[in-house]
């Protein structure tokens, strides 16, 4: 009896099970082969862009000779790191980054409060102005400040001497202060962009409740507002600290001339400034800085785990705006002053510098247009310009497509192996540009001779894609995770194929994020210096490298001209970004 009952049960189950099986099988047959091929290709590309340079760092740090030469394996590179000088380099790196993070955070909080929570006039316009410095390539402001704060002929010192009549030069940008100062111009708007939404989105009743409990404004800000912001502030500060350690331009321009070395400039110097280049040492240092960054990221995870507060309520008043009375003109002036110092001064210096015969000698009879003629007549400039544009367009597009694919797979599918793909795409995030440059230097040299990437523009393209992938994945992931699954499924139910669904629904809804990410990547490529300077060769220079070469040759006047061109491009792109994709600006 029991047997037959079981049989009947199985019989009853069989058709359903069979139907399900055959359905799955059909689906597998239809999609499996192409999907496996596609996934394999994607994994291979990501591996080449992230795992390969990383493993090449390990290989190179143990290899006794420069890339491409026969040698032995030893630990000399790591042994050379353990010197007193390098301890100072490490302390410099950490100290400078700390020294710029703390005041930048204070300034960013102040600016965020002014622009999000007070009735300061023209807040919308001020916000655009205050965040503009973040989008200017650091190499431009570095050169401009090199001219402004030059202890001998700097404009600021000349002004000071002209006003006071003294002959001392109080400002010397080639110092610890100069390095920190230049980094701060980027850290403040960066932090501002990270925290301003937290200020803006906070449920105002959290603060009003404190007022009703009898707390003064100041006490409310201290015990409620700031405390609620703490997770956002901590994560912003750690990110800013990491960027400080990765920073290359500031210590290169203002530290190296004064004998102040940090890890990134140490890597650069040991390859570019020493003869013979010490590849093994540089690679070993690169590996160490990555380990350092990895530790910081671990620390960040531990610190912030479970410590984010949902302070946003569905409904409510716009965030409580503090009426400042007459003081609102003070806050207005403060924001304008920040903009003047971080943008107007350096751009003004470039403008002045481009029209005078010699930098530092500003007399009427020295006015000239010859620098413009020289730049526009120089084939090197046009080649750099063309390369930058080409790399920017192709690089940003390719990176966004790659990032979009990775994000789609990791957010919207349940495919096996998707977390591996996500992790590989994230890996370059821990590599400063210069470290990635070193990794690719080894990687390209060790490729078979049939694949001659090294020395071509492709080398730069691959490095840019690798550097940009984590950002593009992040932008597209947040876009995809905001789309509900229902939308996609609804389209399928209504008869659209997977491809049609992708095209009409997923891409149609996420293109604004795509555009925002694209512009950010384009900016990133335009400003990139540290990887480019290791990977370029004659013929594949980009604008930032052209600028650096001119600067090193002492041609500050032509630098000013090219710098102005780049500034115009930055402002143009920023304007396009703001006016056409305005409502998505917050996804930065």
């Amino acid at each position: 009896m029991t047997v037959s009952a079981d049989d009947r049960l199985q019989d009853a189950n069989r058709p359903a099970l069979g139907a399900r099986l055959s359905g799955t099988a059909r689906w597998l047959q239809a999609t499996s082969a192409s999907r496996v091929a596609g996934l394999t290709l994607l994994v291979a590309v990501l591996a080449f862009l992230s795992v390969y340079p990383l493993s090449m760092l390990l290989y190179g740090s143990l290899h006794s000779t420069p890339p491409g030469m026969a040698g032995t394996f030893n630990l000399d590179g790591y042994r050379d790191i353990l010197t007193r000088e390098n301890l100072i380099t490490l302390l410099n790196t950490v100290g400078i980054s700390l020294a710029k993070t703390v005041p930048s955070l204070a300034l960013a909080v102040l600016l965020a409060w002014i622009l999000a929570r007070t009735d300061t006039p023209c807040r919308g316009a001020l916000e655009v102005l205050v965040t503009l410095p973040f989008f200017i390539p650091p190499i431009l402001t570095a050169m401009a400040w090199g001219m402004l704060g030059n202890p001998q002929v700097g404009l600021l010192n000349q002004l000071y001497q002209g006003i006071t009549g003294s002959s001392t030069a109080p400002i010397n940008v080639y110092s610890y202060g100069g390095v920190v100062w230049h980094m701060m111009q980027y850290a403040v708007p960066f932090l501002f962009l990270l925290i301003v939404d937290a200020f803006r989105a906070m449920d105002p009743s959290l603060e009003e409740a404190a007022r009703m409990c009898g707390a003064s404004r100041l006490r409310t800000f201290r015990t409620i507002t700031l405390q609620l912001m703490l997770p956002a502030l901590t994560s912003g500060a750690i990110l800013s600290f990491i960027r400080g350690i990765e920073n290359f331009e500031s210590p290169l321009f203002f530290g190296s001339p004064a004998g102040i070395h940090v890890i990134t400039t140490d890597i650069y110097d040991s390859i570019n400034q020493r003869s013979p280049p010490q590849y093994q040492y540089a690679t070993a240092v690169s590996f160490v800085i990555m380990a350092l960054l990895f530790l910081i990221v671990l620390l960040q995870w531990r610190l912030l785990r479970g410590r984010s507060f949902t302070t946003v309520s569905g409904k409510g008043y716009s965030p409580g705006v503090t009426k400042l009375g007459k003081w609102r003109w003070v806050t207005f002036a403060f924001c304008v002053l920040f903009f003047v110092i971080t943008v107007v001064l350096p751009v003004g210096q470039l403008l002045i510098g481009s029209f005078f015969k010699f930098f530092g000698f500003y007399q009427w009879d020295m006015l000239t247009l010859e620098h413009y003629q020289a730049v526009f007549g120089s084939s090197e400039f046009w080649r750099g310009f063309g390369n930058t544009m080409l790399l920017g367009l192709v690089g940003a597009s390719a990176t966004m497509v790659l990032g979009g694919l990775v994000a789609y797979i990791s957010v919207r599918t349940k495919w096996r192996g998707r977390s591996l793909i996500d992790a590989m795409a994230w890996l370059p995030w821990m590599m400063p540009g210069i470290v990635l440059g070193v990794g690719f230097l080894w990687g390209f040299a060790l490729l078979p001779h049939a694949i001659p990437i090294y020395g071509t523009i492709w080398a730069l393209l691959l490095a840019y894609i690798s550097l940009g992938t984590p950002l593009s994945v992040r932008v597209m992931s947040s876009a995809f995770s905001q789309l509900s699954f229902d939308i996609e499924e609804c389209s399928r139910v209504h008869g659209a194929s997977w491809l049609q669904t992708m095209w009409r629904i997923v891409i149609a809804l996420s293109w604004p994020s795509f555009a925002v990410g694209w512009v950010l990547l384009f900016f990133g490529i335009m400003r990139e210096l540290s990887a480019s300077v290791l990977l370029y060769s004659i013929g594949s220079e980009v604008l930032s490298v052209v600028l650096l070469k001119l600067w090193v040759n002492g041609n500050a006047e032509q630098v000013s001209v090219i710098g102005l061109m780049m500034m115009v491009m930055v402002i143009l792109f920023r304007w396009v970004q703001l006016s056409f994709i305005k409502k998505h600006i917050n996804t930065l």
């Binding site: 009743s205 404190a210 009703m212 009898g214 609620l228 409510g316």
Partner: protein, 361 residues
């Protein structure tokens, strides 16, 4: 000591008058509710009493002290008014424990540590949350956050409690429970309360008096029964439920002993009597308000003052009651009758005189 007086209070945002000319007196220990649709100015009024919003016209006094006077430019900020307030989102600070949340007003007032502990636990006991004192605030459910918010508002023994839609984020069952619990607590403590809601049932169930607001103005102030049964205008009537408004002409008007008036009216296809709060001239047009639940099916036994016949066009079963839509001479009329009543297609409806209230047409 803890009464509230609003005199001609207004608030303008640019050209838009969110609140205009509100007069209101809340007596000591009274529970008064500001009721109205969203955007009617009720929350703005409450926030002006709280001191979170400054009135652009008029005067507000609390406990005999003027706290805000637009003409004299006087304004006492929120932190110096010493009022308790419960917010719609509860505004429980997520970075503190339950204890710290409730202790905050006392710490601001520099109360001693031992005293704080005792008073916080007392306040938490009052709302039955004493066991949760050491919980982090984000670990609370909506109803628990609500209780903590009330404890925090009461812990420093304010003379006055302000509540801004405190129940609107709770589910229906919890809402009814929290509402009656809070009303019991309010009565026990005798604390003067000003309460804002858009839910008319909540307002009627909780309040001593209800202030009906619309477009920044007060439409009517009165006890819940009065506002429900004797609304001052069509707007107030429509705000509570969905009453039938039958157009009619006054045939006769007679003064009654209780200062009301009895009207004989004629509508299209029916005649009857109703009550009015003021004398109406013969031939005047009125709207006779009849609540659906006051409409009865004629059974021949009861003495009705108005009788209407019509055809049932819609009937839906709601458990205890049945909701009917009846077409009477081309007008649709809603009625709620006991679900057990047998029904034909043609029905005769009756309305008692005391259940029919005349409004200006």
């Amino acid at each position: 000591m803890s009464n509230i007086v609003l005199e001609k209070v207004s608030r303008k945002f640019g050209d838009f008058a969110a609140v205009s000319g509100v007069d209101l007196r809340v007596g000591e220990g009274e529970f008064v509710t500001l009721l109205g649709p969203s955007g009617c100015g009720k929350t703005t009024t409450l926030r002006m009493v709280a001191g979170l919003e400054q009135n652009t016209g008029g005067r507000i006094s609390i406990g005999g002290r003027v706290v805000s006077d637009a003409e004299r430019g006087l304004f006492v900020p929120a932190e110096h008014r010493a009022l308790g307030m419960v917010f719609q989102s509860y505004a429980i600070w997520p970075h503190m424990t339950v204890f710290d949340n409730v202790a905050y007003p006392l710490r601001v007032r520099r109360v001693g540590r031992v005293d704080i502990r005792q008073r916080v636990l007392e306040a938490l006991k009052l709302v039955e949350m004493a066991d949760y004192a050491d919980r982090p605030a984000p670990a609370l459910s909506g109803g628990q956050q609500q209780r903590v918010a009330i404890a925090r508002a009461l812990v420093f023994e304010p003379a006055l409690l302000l509540l801004d839609e405190p129940l609107s984020n709770l589910d229906a069952r919890l809402r009814a429970q929290m509402g009656s619990e809070f009303r019991a607590l309010q009565k026990r403590l005798g604390i003067t309360s000003l309460y804002v809601t858009h839910d008319q049932e909540e307002a009627m169930a909780l309040s001593d008096r209800v202030v009906v607001m619309q477009a920044g103005r007060v439409l009517q102030i009165g006890a819940p029964e009065e506002i429900y049964q004797r609304p001052a205008s069509r707007d107030v009537a429509s705000f509570f439920g969905s009453p039938n408004l039958l157009p009619a002409t006054v045939v006769n008007c007679a003064r009654l002993d209780d200062a009301d008036f009895a009207l004989s009216v004629r509508g299209s296809g029916w005649e009857g009597t109703c009550r009015a709060g003021e004398a109406r001239a013969e031939g005047a047009k009125v709207l006779v308000m009849v609540r659906p639940e006051s409409v009865r099916l004629a059974d021949g036994a009861n003495q009705a003052s108005s009788v209407l016949s019509g055809r049932v066009v819609q009937s839906s079963f709601h458990g205890a009651r049945r909701a009917l839509t009846v077409e009477v001479n081309g007008n649709l009329m809603r009625a709620e009758v006991p679900a057990t009543t047998p029904l034909g297609e043609q029905v005769t409806l009756t309305i008692d005189e005391r259940a029919a209230w005349a409004l200006s047409a």
